[in-house]
Amino acid sequence: MDKAGNSKRGPAGPTLFRQIATRLAAFTLLFALLDVGIVVFTYSSQPESLAQELLTLEANKAERSTAPVPDLLAGPPGAEHWAARYVEPAAGGSAPPPSRVDAPSGVLMDWTRRERIPGGYRISGVRSVQQGGQQRWLYMQFEGDGIRPYVPVIANEIVQHVVLPLIPLSLLLLLFNVFAVRRVLGPLQRAEAEVDALDPDNVLLRLSEAPEPREVNTLVRAVNRALTRLDKTMAILRGFTANAAHELRTPLSIMQLSLDKLPPGPLRDDLQADTQHMARLVGQMLDLAQADALAVEPDVLVDLADIGRDIVGAMAPKAFAAQRELRFEAVGDTRALGHAEAIYRIYRNLIDNALAHAPGATPIEVTAGPGPQLSVRDHGPGIADEDLPHIFERFWRKDRRKSDGAGLGLGIVQRLAEAHGGAITARNAPGGGALFEVTFAPPEPGR
C-alpha cells in the first residue's frame, strides 16, 4: 500500500479536457478567419452591394439617433464629403430632388447609386427610416476613397454572419465535449484506480470491464489480456525456479552420499562443504520461489508463540551443537493472521542468521508478542550502518569469501513478511546485538 502513491499524480501533460477545449477554440478561430476571408472577398468583388450596405447601415444609425438634423451625423469613417437630409415623397417637396425619381409619384423607394469621380467614388441614395412611429425618407450622399469607409460595413457583416452564429455553436460544442469527455473518462478513472491497486502478490486480479464506451472497454480488455500473459510468464518463472531446485535435490543427495564413501581427507572435506553449500542454496532458491508465490489466506488465525516454541525446540539441537543458547519468550496475546509454515520459516531463517553472525557462547533471544509480532535478537556485533540498506537484498553478503550462505535468507524473510501484509525491520538493539522484528496483521477484533 505504501509503495504505491509515490510516483503517481504527477502533472504529466495537459488533461484531455483541456486539449479538446484548446483544439476546439483553435478550430473555431480558423473557421472564423476563413469566414471573414469569404465575406471580405465577396464584398470586394461587388462594390455595389457594399455601397448598398453602407447606406443601409448609416440609415440605421440615423434611425437610432435623436439628432434632429441628419447632417450632424458623423457619416462613415474617412468620408471626404458627407451630406444627409430628409426628403418628402410629395410632389413639390423641398428640393433638390434626388437625381433619380423614376419611382411612381408620391412614393419614394430605396435606391443606391455608385459612381466614379476623380480621386475616388461617390455614393448616393435614399432609405426609408422609422422615426417616432413615422416613416421618413433619408437622402444621403458621400464621397470617399479606398476601403476605409466600408470598414463598419464589413465589421457588421462579420458580426452578423461569423461571430453570432459561431459563438453559440462553439459553446454548445464545448458543453457537449465536457459531457462526452466526462462520460469517457469515468471508466478510465476507475481503471486507473484499479491498475494502481494491482498487487504483484495478487496475480489473479483483473480490471473490471465497463460495457461502454467501447474504446475504453477494448483498452481495459487489452490490459487484462496483457496481465494474463504476465501471469503466465511469472508462473513459468516461478515454476522454473521451483522445478530446477526440486530436480537438483535428488542428484545432490546422490553426490552427498557418494562423497561419504571416499577415503577421509581434505579433498573429501572440501567437496562435502561444497555440496552442503549447494544444497543450502538450492533449498533457499526453492524457498524464495515459494515465498514469491505465497498467497496468505486472510482468515487463518495462528499463534506466534506456538510456532516460536516449535521452531526453537527444533533448532535447539543445532544451537547446542554450535554451543549456543536459544531462549524463547511469549509476551501477551500472540495471535496473528498468517500462514503457519511461512511464519515457521521466518523464525528459522532469522535464527539461522543469528547463529551465523553472532559469536559463540552468546544467547539468541526469540520472542513472540506482545501483539502480532515476533523478534529475534542476538548479542553479536550488530549490523554496521553501511550494511543496513543491503541486508534484505537477494544474494547480498557482507563478505562473499567468508560466508557459506547464499545471501537469500533475509530476503526470504522479507518476502514472507510482505506476503502477510506485514513488515520486517532490522536495527541494533540497545545494549548491542542485532534485533529483527516482524509484524503481522492482527486478528480481527472479537475473535
Binding site: R249, Q256, L257, A340, E341
Partner: protein, 228 residues
C-alpha cells in the same frame, strides 16, 4: 531391524541402503507404489522410508492407505519437495516424520531410531543415549552399566527425554507425562526434578547433557558425535 525403502532413483536407493546397512539396519528396496504394497503384504517391516513422487503413483496415497487400515507402522517420508505446505500435507496424511533431500546418513539414521523408539513402536524397552541406559519395563537406570538410584518421577522424566533424545521436549508434554491430571503442579516442581536428575547423572559419570531451552522445554543430548 527391517526397513522398507521405496525410492525410484536406483543410485540414491543403493547409497541409502549401504549407509543404513553400516548403521545396523536391514533395508529392502522397491521402486514403485505397487511394489511397496506387494512387499508390505508379505513381510513385516519395522519402518517405511518413502519417496513421494513415484513412477506409478503418489507415495502419500500409500501412507493414507496404510493408515486407513489402522496400520501404525512408523513412516518416514524422504522427499525433494520442501514446499511451504508439503510438510504439513505429508504429516496430515499420516506420515510420522518428513526429511527433505539432500540429507546425510547419520541424520537419516537418527530419525529412524527416534521413530523406532516411540511408544507403540515395536522396539524400545531399552532406551539409551551415550552411556546412559534405561529399561522401560524394569524402571531401572544404568550409567556405563552401573545401576543409578533415582526416584520413580526422575525415571519417568529421563524416559521422556530419552525417547526424544536430541530433540526438545516441551515442558507441558513432560508435565503431562509426569503428573496426574488432578495433582497440583507448582511452577518449579519440574525444574527441581530436572535439577536433581542432572546432579544424579553427573555424579554417576554420565556423558549426556540435559539442556534447558528457555520458554520451550528440555532436551537430552548425547555426546556430539551422534548428531552430525
Amino acid at each position: 531391524m527391517r526397513l522398507l525403502l521405496v525410492e525410484d532413483n536406483a543410485r540414491l536407493a543403493s547409497l541409502i541402503r549401504e549407509g543404513l546397512d553400516r548403521q545396523g539396519f536391514a533395508v529392502d528396496w522397491c521402486e514403485t507404489v505397487s511394489g511397496a504394497e506387494h512387499a508390505l503384504a508379505i513381510t513385516m517391516y519395522d519402518l517405511l522410508l518413502l519417496d513421494l513422487g513415484l513412477p506409478d503413483g503418489e507415495g502419500l496415497d500409500l501412507v493414507r492407505g496404510l493408515r486407513r487400515r489402522q496400520d501404525t507402522m512408523p513412516i518416514l517420508v524422504l522427499t525433494a519437495r520442501g514446499g511451504l505446505d508439503d510438510r504439513v500435507v505429508g504429516l496430515d496424511a499420516g506420515a510420522d516424520d518428513y526429511l527433505v533431500k539432500p540429507f546425510q546418513i547419520p541424520e537419516l539414521a537418527a530419525r529412524c531410531r527416534a521413530l523406532l523408539r516411540r511408544p507403540g513402536a515395536s522396539l524400545g524397552t531399552e532406551l539409551s543415549a551415550g552411556n546412559v541406559t534405561l529399561h522401560s519395563a524394569e524402571r531401572s537406570v544404568k550409567v556405563s552399566g552401573e545401576p543409578v538410584v533415582a526416584t520413580p518421577r526422575e525415571v519417568d522424566l529421563l524416559e521422556c527425554l530419552l525417547r526424544r533424545a536430541g530433540h526438545v521436549v516441551a515442558k507441558l508434554a513432560i508435565e503431562g507425562a509426569l503428573y496426574s491430571m488432578d495433582a497440583e503442579v507448582t511452577p518449579n516442581a519440574l525444574e527441581a526434578c530436572v535439577s536433581r536428575l542432572r546432579k544424579r547423572l553427573a555424579t554417576a559419570g554420565a556423558d549426556v547433557q540435559i539442556t534447558t531451552v528457555h520458554g520451550v522445554g528440555y532436551a537430552l543430548f548425547a555426546p556430539i558425535a551422534a548428531h552430525g
